[in-house]
Every structure is written in C-alpha cells, then in structure tokens.
Amino acid sequence: MARIIDLAAHPAVYATRLFAEVGHDVIRVESAAGDQVRRLGPYLGDREDLNHGVFHQYLNAGKKSLALNVQSSVGKQILVELCRTADALVVMAPPPVGEQDLAAANPRLVVTIVEDEEPEICAYARSGLLSITGHPGQRPVLMGGHVAYAATGALVAVATATALLAAEQNGQGDTVHVSLAECLQSLFEQAMVTYASTGRSTERRGYRGAVTAVSGAFPTQDGYSMFSIPSHPEGWRGFMSWVQDSVLLEDESLVEETERQEKKDFILDRLESWSRGFLKEDIVSEAQRRHIPASPVATPLDLARDPQLIHRGFLREVDHAGLGKMLFPIGALATVRGTPTGFAPRLGQHTTEILSELGYSTEERQALIESRVLWA
C-alpha cells in the first residue's frame, strides 16, 4: 500500500479517488475552508454544507482529510514532513513547495504536477471536444456531470501509477507533468486520425443515425432506447422481421445501407411511431434476444437501481451516517477487487491522527491550531 498526498483540484481528483479505490492510503490536504470539490452540488438530503456534496461523497470516499494551511511557512514544513512518509504527491501547478525541496526530502517521491489553465467550459471549447458534443447545427454542450474531469483524472492516475511502479522498482522518484489541455485533446484521437487521413473535420452527429443509417435513440413510452442496426442486408432483414412495417417492407431497395442513408429521416420517423408502443426495458430485451445491439437510454436514477450494477456488487447497500441505508456505487475497480471503499471524510477528520504520526505532541498541535496552521 502506497501513501498518496492529495492536493488535486477537481480536474485531477478522480486520480486520487482511483488510488483510494484500490486500497492506498490517500491523505487529502485541504484548507480551513475545505476544498472546491466539497462545494459541488447536488447535496445529499439537500443539506448544502461541506460534507454532503455528492462529488465530495464519491470522489473523496476512502480518503483521510488533513486540514492544513500549506501557504504558511509552518504549513509548508509540515507538508514536506508528510511527503517524507509518502510515495506520491498529486498537486496542481504551481506546487506550494518546490520540486527540489520535495526531492531532497524524499528522493523516492513521485510528484505529479497538473497544469490547469482555464475553467472547465473554456478548456472544453478550446480542446475541440465542444465542437463534437451535441446535435448538428444546434448549440453545442459541455459534457454533463463534470465527466470530462473524470477522464482527465484517469489520465493523471495512469501517469502517476506508472512513475510509482518505476520508483518501487528502482528506488528513484520522478516528477510527472500533466497538461489538462493536452489530456482533453487526447480524448478525440479518432477525429484527429480522420482529419489527418481524409481532411474531414468530425462534427456533432446528434442522437439518431449517428452510427449506421438506422441507429440512435428511439422514443418509447417511458424514455428512450438505443439501437444500432448493422449496415449489412441481413441486419436490416432481421430487424424488419420483427418490426413488420408494411411500408418499409414493400421498398426492397432498403436492404442496401446506401438507400437507407438516403431515406434515413423517412425510415426513422416510421420507426419512432413503432417504438413508442413499447416500454424501454421490453424493447431492449427483445432486441438483445435478436442479437441487435441495444440498450436503454438511462438516467442516473435508472442506474441507481440497475440490476446489473447490483448483481455485480458495483452498487452496495451501506448505512450512511445521517441518511440511513442506501445503495452506493463503489467504482469499477473496487467492484473487480470486491472491496468497497470507506466514506468521504469530514474536513480535518484525520488532522490529529496524522500530526501525531509525524511526532507532534498534543501541545504542539494545539499551538498550531491556535496559530491557524491546522484545523481539527
């Protein structure tokens, strides 16, 4: 088990979440005000405070919280002492303590420095990703749920874990620089390849006909379901043997994908009136039985009670302080390992424990609290 010191802001905090998820000792260092991630709603039980934000609840689960003013000189000193006991530090640029001081304190330390230059929506627009998110010609949208930051965090995790493995092998730490702008650009490499090889710039494709002519989100009685009908003639025939639409069946040219592309809107409009007769679970089950790639278009509420996630142990019943028993997601890697992480800490919950470990007496800790270096 490695010890990871976590000074990651939101764009990188999914990285330290992953380290906590696989069982490492992650210490989140926060200011007295508590970090930005604690302030992201929605809030559990509509309690808008530092402990009930859902992003904090998930992204900081299984971590310890040390409330320390790392801008003060004493605070910097304590951070260096903490780094002597650690294997990695994940921090935003510029770090509060210089790289050389950190390396001098602990030559085995991996220091990951994340460069984050602008707000999420600006970084997303500049990266090119905004231009491919949304419906054709309509207002593009930022991906929701700050999910782009989970992707950048996963890249930070991979970079850090690689340097950590090397440090364990050869006893030497490293400094890893991660650019969030480059991380976002790296997430559309297919579009890059398409442009480089054909000169075609990928655009927003919307929700229907995006893959094959007959693919996309089809309306049902209770939401949408997603289908992709393969482009070959058998795929179409198999689908029609189910749909039995007399008008579509009559037009034999439609066995060809090129014809279907030509008449896409006409076909999809007819199919939408067919799909509206079903519940999404029923239409998806029948499609899967017929080997047609299909799935519900789920909301997070659907997923919060999804049978697959419950069966696999991704969703587990926990007894949450204040909220009682509820199903809680433990993460993909914790699911594979079968070991759930703990809850997210209160601000400064582990300050006393960590400072004691570093050799600070009760009196010394009290003095640091009074001088506003520590909060416990």
Partner: protein, 416 residues
Amino acid sequence: MTTDVAEPAPTPSSQPQSPTPPLTGVRVLDFTQILAGPFCTRLLADFGAEVLKVETATRTDRTSATRPDPNAKGRQDRPPAFLNTNRNKRSIAINLKTPSGKGLATRLATVADVVIENFSADVMGRLGLSYDHLAPLNRRMIYVSMAGYGHSGPRREWTSMNMNLQAYTGLMMVNGAEGDLPTSISNSWNDYIGGLHATFGILQALAERRVTGKGANLDLAQFECSVSTLAPLLVASAASGRAPRRMGNRFSHAAPQGCYRCAGKDEWCVITIPDDDAWHALVGVVDAKLSDPRFDTLVARLRHHDEIDTIIEEWTSQRSKEEVESRLASVGVAVSRMRRIREVFEEEGPTAFRSMEDPPGHMTAATGVPFSFARNGIAPLAPAPNLGEHTEQALGEWLGLSPDEARALGEQGALV
C-alpha cells in the same frame, strides 16, 4: 517526402530517450480488438511493455471492417484508426480455430505477464483461453477482461457498442439541458474511459505482484468504468429518488456561463463569469442593458440567466468568435471560441499530435501521451505492425523456438 501533417518540433515522445521506460520487460499477450482494449495496450506499449497482438488472418481486428477508408493516404494495409491505435506493438498471426493454434496461444500465455482481451463474455472460454484455463499454468499472470458488461450478471450476454454505452451509462441524459433530447459526443468516449481504467488496474496489479508474487483476475466491465465517471450523480439519485437536473452549459458557481452563437454558420464561443469582478468586466464590454441592479449578485444572475443570455447573445451573434474572444479576454473575462477539430489540428498539430514516418517517406499523424516524466522514459514512436510481422521473432523470443520449429507449427495449422 509526402506529408499529411506538419513536420513536428522534436518532442519527448518522438525522440528516442536514454532512460528505460518503466514497463520494459513486461510481456503483454494482447487479444483485444477495436478500441477500448487496444487503447489500453497502446498505453502499456508507450510505457515500454512488449505488446504482442494476437491476430487471425481470417478475422482481423474489426477496426478494419468498421472503418474502411479508401481515401486514406499513406499505408493501405490497415486503416488509419488501426495504425494509430496499434503503433508500438508487435503482431503474431495465430489460427485460434485449430487445436494447435489454441495450444500455441496457451504456451504464450504461460510466459506472459499480462493477458488481456475485450471479447464478449464467453469467447475466451470457448477458445480454452479463459482465466480458469490459464491461471493454473501461470500464477504470476495478470488476466484482464474488458467485456462490455463484465463476465457476470443479467447483462453479461448483451452486445455493447460505443453508442449503447453512451446511452446506458447515463451520459446522454446527463449531457444537455432539461428537456433536451438524448445528447451524445461524436467519438468513442467510453472506449477511452474503459481503456484508462484497465491500464490503471494493470499498473496496480503489477505493483501488487512485486510484493505478493501473484497475478490477478480483473473482470472489468466497460459499462461500470463509464458509470464510475458519473457516479456522483448516481449517489445523488440513490439518495433523493430523483434524476439530477440536466445543467446544459450552466454551472451553480458561475453565472452567466454558456455557449453563445457568434457571427457565421455554426460558430460559437463560451463565457463563464465566476464572480462580480468578472461580471463588471463583461458588462463594460457587452451591453449597457446588462448594467442592471437585478443582476448584481451571482444568485441573482442565476435567477435571471435566460434574460442575461439573450442580451449576451445579441452582442456575440453580431461578431466573429475571434473578436468576441479577444475583446473579452482583454478585460480578463474567461472566454474561449469553440475550436473545430480542423482548427485544433491546424493551430496545434505539431505540439498536440506527434508524427512518425510510416511508411518510409511518408509522415503520418500519431497521438502521443499528454504527460511527460522528468526521469522515466517513454517508448519512441514505432509504426503499427503488419499482420503477423513478428510471428517468427516472438516464437523465438517468448518460447525459444527455432525458425524450423516455427515452420512446423505452421504446418500443424497453428499459424495463419
């Protein structure tokens, strides 16, 4: 020399480096196809692992089948998406339908550090290459499966493709604003997410193996990887019994925040105003109508967001996105024009994307990694292999077989 990308400035990952990449000596037997798995193994290759891609002539990686590209310049033996995803790997062509081919794959697995596949749940079992088949032969083996829904549960048989995962993981109903249609991103987002989680899981398993000497069985589900990235909203729904509000381009900590139409066809810019200082700077540039006491606080601006957006867009829609960006940036407002893929490529190609010579005399674009190590090395870029290019070499290096013995395997039907 023909070229379809600008000649790059020297970059860390396009130049040979003296430090040894961290995963040097790690052998990866790679059965993965299309994108999620190959993206993972490409990262492992970037970190120095020896990735041996198992291919079958009769059924090559379906990246080829799904993305034919007759207009592609440069190499024609593989589609561009394949070339980019499988660079820095080696290729062995094995006929997995014959007993001797299966036997050969099994022997390779006994000397592999990592065996990885992203087939549907039952495929490796039918080939006699499941974790249960192989684990008794190699206790140090890290076996990674990346089926869409994993190898257990009521959805284990379900076929999954990128758009199905975008739909089922909640992404399409989280993107966009309340009342919007399901909203997608035009790339294989979930493949990257799955590949990154698998890579992290493998790095963790390698670190643990150093201590325990034992391998691992990672039955990952790409579905769960993507759901994990949206898990905070699941927590919200599980607690409240409600679907979270779709925020569109808005944010509770900044108002106004949005994507605004600019002059021209389908041109846009984004603006975000986190505090009152930024607001006053915006008001000073945009329109006196915004100078209204009703908009003085963040809470008030959140309440009147629609009205404010209308005024801002009246101003932006009469100006080019470049003008909007430069005028607002000059007063310290956080703003960015929406760049298209073409613009990103043209403006940043040499730094955002690497290039390598493949085939000889032709520079072709390749993606690097978005980070750098001060001390550790990253493998230099090398072209994707031809089908079966390394069959004989791998049989020699992994199994100690001579060229004659390799030929004998071919005669038994193991190779293609």
